[in-house]
Amino acid sequence: MLNFVIKRLLMLVPVFLAVSMIIFLIIHMVPGDPIDNMVQIGSSPEQRAELIAKYGLDKPLLVQYGVWFRNLLEGDLGNAIILRRPVAELIEENLPHSLLLGCLAFAFSAIVGVASGALAAIYKDSWIDRGVMTLILLGSTLPSFWLGLLLILVFAVQLEWFPVSGARSWSALVLPVLTIGLHGVALVSRVTRAAMLDVGRRDFVLMLHAKGLSHRRIQLQHVLRHALLPVVTILSLRIGWIVGGAVTIEFVFARPGLGSLLITSLNQRDYPVVQGCLLMLAMAVMLGTLLGDLVQASLDPRVRDSLK
């Protein structure tokens, strides 16, 4: 298993290279440059040219990529142009917020999604099933910024249970986690329900009934475990979201995070920051699939054997 992990990590290297190249090219193909955001009213065109030279933006793209990549290999993500700080430092500052929010929301949508999906599957075609699924479907049609504002109005303004915004206390996490989480819940519960119904038709379930196990126990102990496999696949693909998917929510709740760092930097064309953030995202995704595989292996002995 350890071997497997190491090999998988090694295989990421070429992918990483390709990804860094793609990211770099895309960012630089976008019109606009960061210098516009720095030039002061009153400064001369020469000063502008000086700035461009200072950040090496006048060099051919390939050379710029070369410089960036060489630094990358040394573990240096470069310095932000607009934000004037080492990119690594900016990421270090924002990533924990993203991770905290992302992981909690992820956990929330996983747990609530699986639970509600399982509930709907166990009581298939009953009012519980219909109610849960309809509620979730309705919830998922609200764009997330809207849902966020709605939650603020209800829980922060009316009920005053949580602060409106910010990242200063644990209670401030509740509403953003709910907002992101609820969207995930829709996806997860649908997949869970469908997978459980699917697994429920397999032969071994009949056998379990023949052994005299109760319906609920069969569903929870056996069927659900199988249904988790596709859920894990979906979730592992969405792990990128933990890191950068909360842009809207970060804006609405005035929270720091990689997503808003990325978008703000993209708007200002702060190339090094954007590249750094995207790399983080790509890494998160790659690690996410790896993690997904490992979780599946821990759930399913067949997968476990194939990883040996």
């Binding site: 992918v15 976008v30 309705l138 764009p143 910024f145 792990i239 809207t248 978008i263 790509a282 998160a284």
Partner: protein, 284 residues
């Protein structure tokens, strides 16, 4: 042969209350979009700056917006944009995604690995981000939004098709065709794609609902349809600034989105059930 067996997937979908009702709802929305100029009580772009942000009234059922334009009319006309965006973007996405996925799945090897890696990556980036990147790349406008949405969803269809093609590739009937002397083209277009398309279409239907919401989210970032053309997303985003002053300017488009998305989802669910191979076997 019992009559049950002969029935097509569509009629079986419509047989359920969910299928029938949801299709009716979708038809209402599509009809509204098609006949918008005749249905809308006012022109969508005529401003009346002396009557801005009016409460709902008999003259304006859903009130007026910050330019004094009739919200209801804009919702009806906006359906055109929103549906066009969703349908075009998702169709393009399905087409490109299917071609990529089918080629990757059928030919396999290095090509497959390359396509899969890129595709996985695009799927894992948040849609909003991809959209923003492409809007920045090709400029704002409906086209950009549509391209961005198609790219955001492309991966999903490519993956789905690839998985389908990979499994169908080893079906006996494909080998049977080879045995008869069939070439790649015949196999790809006569056997693989027709058999792979159903789940892709169902996923596409559901993605269409998501695309309407995504267009709204992009609207929140100020991207998308160019004013004064309305779209539900753009209406919601410009309404957000007025959330406390004139909440009805968001309520209308919000409900329209919810209505459409729920209908599409219900229809998609019913379709999935009707297409389910097991159900077909059970009829047998």
């Amino acid at each position: 042969m019992s009559r049950l067996r002969k029935s097509s997937a569509l009629s079986r979908t419509l047989g359920t209350w969910r299928g029938g009702v949801s299709l009716l709802c979708i038809l209402i929305v599509v009809g509204g979009a098609l006949f918008a100029p005749w249905l809308a009580p006012y022109a969508y772009d005529i401003q009346n700056l002396s009557a801005t942000n009016q409460d709902p009234s008999w003259a304006h059922w859903l009130g007026t917006d910050e330019f004094g334009r009739d919200v209801l009319s804009r919702i009806i006309v906006g359906a055109r944009t929103s549906l066009t965006v969703a349908i075009t973007a998702i169709s393009v996405s399905v087409l490109v995604g299917m071609s990529l996925g089918a080629a990757a799945g059928y030919f396999g090897g290095l090509f497959d690995r390359l396509v899969s890696a890129v595709v996985d990556l695009t799927w894992s980036f948040p849609e909003v981000l991809i959209a923003l990147m492409f809007v920045a790349l090709i400029g704002a406008g409906l086209e950009a939004t549509m391209i961005a949405i198609s790219i955001a969803y492309l991966a999903q269809f490519a993956r789905l098709t690839r998985a389908q093609v990979m499994s169908i590739k080893s079906e006996t009937y494909v080998e049977a065709a080879v045995n008869l002397g069939a070439g790649h083209i015949h196999i790809l277009f006569r056997h693989l794609l027709p058999n792979a398309i159903t789940p892709v279409i169902v996923a596409g239907m559901l993605a269409m609902g998501d695309a309407i919401i995504l267009e709204a989210t992009l609207g929140f970032f100020g991207l998308g349809v160019q004013p004064p053309k309305p779209s539900w997303g753009a209406m919601m985003s410009s309404g957000t600034a007025q959330i406390f002053l004139a909440p009805w300017t968001i309520l209308g488009p919000g409900l329209a989105i919810a209505f459409t998305v729920v209908s599409i989802n219900l229809f998609g669910d019913a379709l999935i059930e009707a297409l389910d191979i097991r159900n077909r076997l059970r009829d047998n």
